[in-house]
């Protein structure tokens, strides 16, 4: 299920990578329920997905694990490049452009299934970027 109790995961995608690298998975998380829900991370092939936040300093790009992120009632949180992502460390296989990946995303009490599109390596935006659904 990519939708349950007013919680929904949309437009999940990740750039192609080679085996052993970290995958950063981006998506929109919608909360149409009446209560705030906490985005906590997820799993991919039984491996943990950490919610990570981006920062930039003299040492370059840094991703820091966050304990969780509240998605207010009626609001939407965008996980996007150089802001927020779910990180899958040391992916045990190549992620090939055009293929899909199944991941589970924990939001509030729900575990939502999401189909992650694999985009071009080094892509900085979803291929649907710029047009709404």
């Amino acid at each position: 299920m990519s939708e349950a109790n007013g919680l929904r995961v949309l437009h999940a995608w990740t750039p192609a990578i080679t085996q052993g690298a970290d995958a950063l998975i981006y998506m929109d998380v919608e909360n149409t329920s009446a209560a705030e829900a906490m985005l906590q991370g997820g799993t991919a092939m039984d491996a943990p997905l950490d919610l990570v936040g981006f920062s930039y300093g003299t040492s370059g790009d840094t991703w820091t694990v966050l304990p969780g992120l509240p998605v207010p009632a009626g609001a939407e949180v965008l996980l996007e490049p150089k802001v927020l992502a779910l990180r899958w460390q040391a992916v045990p296989m190549d992620l090939v452009e055009g293929a899909e990946l199944e991941v589970m995303v924990k939001v509030g009490a729900e575990v939502l299934e999401a189909h992650v599109e694999i985009g071009a390596a080094g892509a900085t935006a979803h291929s649907h970027a710029g047009h709404g659904h």
């Binding site: 936040g53 930039y56 003299t58 370059g60 820091t64 966050l66 939407e76 802001v83 927020l84």
Partner: protein, 435 residues
């Protein structure tokens, strides 16, 4: 193997990589020189043709210096601009261009912008997780230095304790940036606008007294003058954000009486809250962004240029290497007579080969070493100029990428220097002896 490498600390990786790059050259040297002692002779030959050799060393040094300086400078600029943005966690502004707002709010390159209104500001300041919501109101200047309206909390957030004096306490007091063109105790009247278009007498009759000076931040804010945002509003004939008669400065502001501000700096109580706040204030009537993200994207774009630059630096280095080798082949003609004598009195070819290689190696290693030093000096000089012009503190120092570039260059050139050695031992002995 890959795991082992990945688990090494970065410094160890850098050192090992440098050694790895250097290894082929070292191995070539060890093989060529094993059991031989050509250095006294090589020293004599180097002295014999000192002017030519010095010219050669200088050419290598300049080319290596350019490559090294370019790399160091680019990194220094990148790190300097990143460091200048480090205190700016999250910026909230009216919808528009993130780059424009970042340039204005972080690097004080002012431009006309829509304002965040009083009620919007109150919503931001009151949001869950906000530790600091500081208005950043620019537009005025004094002697070319931007005069920026804000709050005392922002001054402390930006630069920590003052280096001198005290914070502003009334709407007509000011705190100077570390290198602002005013002194503590001085009173000045701000000009409206910036640069040549600034109207010097627009705010005549209104004066700020400088009460303190900030410690250096390495950012354009070092040349700015920070004043209470109320002062900026009053200078422009607007309400001061508080009920009439009140002389309080700083938050809270009365939402309906607050004239608005081009940008709000938001600092969150917790790291995660920054992301929640960005999400919360990314909406139709407001724009929230991390300057770090914008800067990283800009640097990412420049990264392509950087890659091109690195490729060019390496290509240049390869061309220089080829020129060096061709130069060495020509230099060998200079010492051909001495080499022929060595062969005539019984020197093995391997020894003659070693003499030529060691001669080349001496020029290459000296040139590369001087080039490293030259690159360091050039990078520092250019950094000084950039810092003076932009106030972004650029510290260009030599680091591992430069060491790797030079190690690779030296190694490759030492290997290629085998060629002049090989050509030297194939020269006609008698003809060289007679010349």
């Amino acid at each position: 193997m890959a795991d082992l490498w990945a688990n090494l600390p970065p410094l160890a990786q850098d050192i090992l990589f440098a050694l790895l790059l250097f290894c082929p050259g070292l191995i070539a040297g060890a093989v060529v020189l094993r059991g031989l002692r050509p250095l006294p002779l090589v020293g004599a030959m180097l002295r014999r043709f000192a002017p030519v050799n010095l010219l050669f060393v200088a050419l290598i040094a300049v080319s290596v210096g350019l490559g090294v300086g370019l790399l160091a400078q680019e990194r220094g600029l990148r790190q300097g601009s990143a460091q200048a943005a480090e205190k700016f966690d999250l910026i909230v502004a009216a919808p528009g261009s993130e780059v424009t707002v970042m340039l204005a709010a972080v690097y004080l390159q002012a431009s006309d912008m829509a304002l965040v209104t009083g009620p919007q500001y109150a919503e931001i300041a009151g949001a869950k997780g906000v530790a600091l919501a500081a208005p950043i109101a620019f537009g005025d200047s004094h002697l070319g230095a931007p005069v920026v309206g804000t709050t005392t909390d922002f001054v402390t957030h930006l630069a920590g304790p003052l280096a001198e004096g005290r914070l502003f306490a009334t709407a007509s007091e000011a705190v100077a940036g570390a290198f602002a063109p005013v002194t503590v105790g001085e009173t000045f009247s701000p000009a409206h606008g910036h640069g040549a278009a600034a109207e010097g007498d627009a705010h005549a009759g209104f004066g700020y007294m400088v009460t303190g000076r900030m410690a250096p931040t390495g950012s354009p804010w070092d040349r700015a003058i920070l004043v209470p945002v109320e002062g900026v509003w009053q200078v422009h004939g607007l309400s001061n954000g508080h009920p009439p008669g009140e002389t309080q400065i700083g938050p809270p502001f009365a939402p309906d009486l607050m004239p608005g501000t081009p940008a709000v700096l938001v600092h969150a109580t917790e790291l995660w809250a920054n992301y929640a706040l960005k999400s919360q204030f990314t909406r139709g009537d407001l724009m929230a962004f991390f300057p770090g993200t914008v800067l990283s994207q800009l640097h990412g774009l420049m990264g392509d240029i950087r890659t091109a630059m690195s490729v060019m630096a390496v290509l240049t280095q390869v061309l220089v290497t080829l020129s060096v080798v061709i130069g060495l082949v020509i230099l060998v003609r200079l010492i051909a007579r001495s080499l022929a004598l060595l062969r005539a009195i019984g020197a093995p070819l391997r020894f003659v080969f070693a003499v030529v290689w060691a001669y080349s190696a001496a020029l290459i290693v000296t040139g590369a070493g001087l080039g490293l030093a030259l690159g360091w000096v050039a990078a520092r000089a250019i950094s000084g100029v950039i810092t003076a012009r932009t106030d972004v503190l650029v510290r260009a120092a030599l680091s591992w990428p430069e060491v790797h570039l030079v190690a690779g260059f030296v190694s490759l050139t030492l290997i290629l220097a085998l060629l002049p050695g090989w050509l030297a031992v194939r020269r006609p002995l008698l003809a060289d002896l007679r010349n």
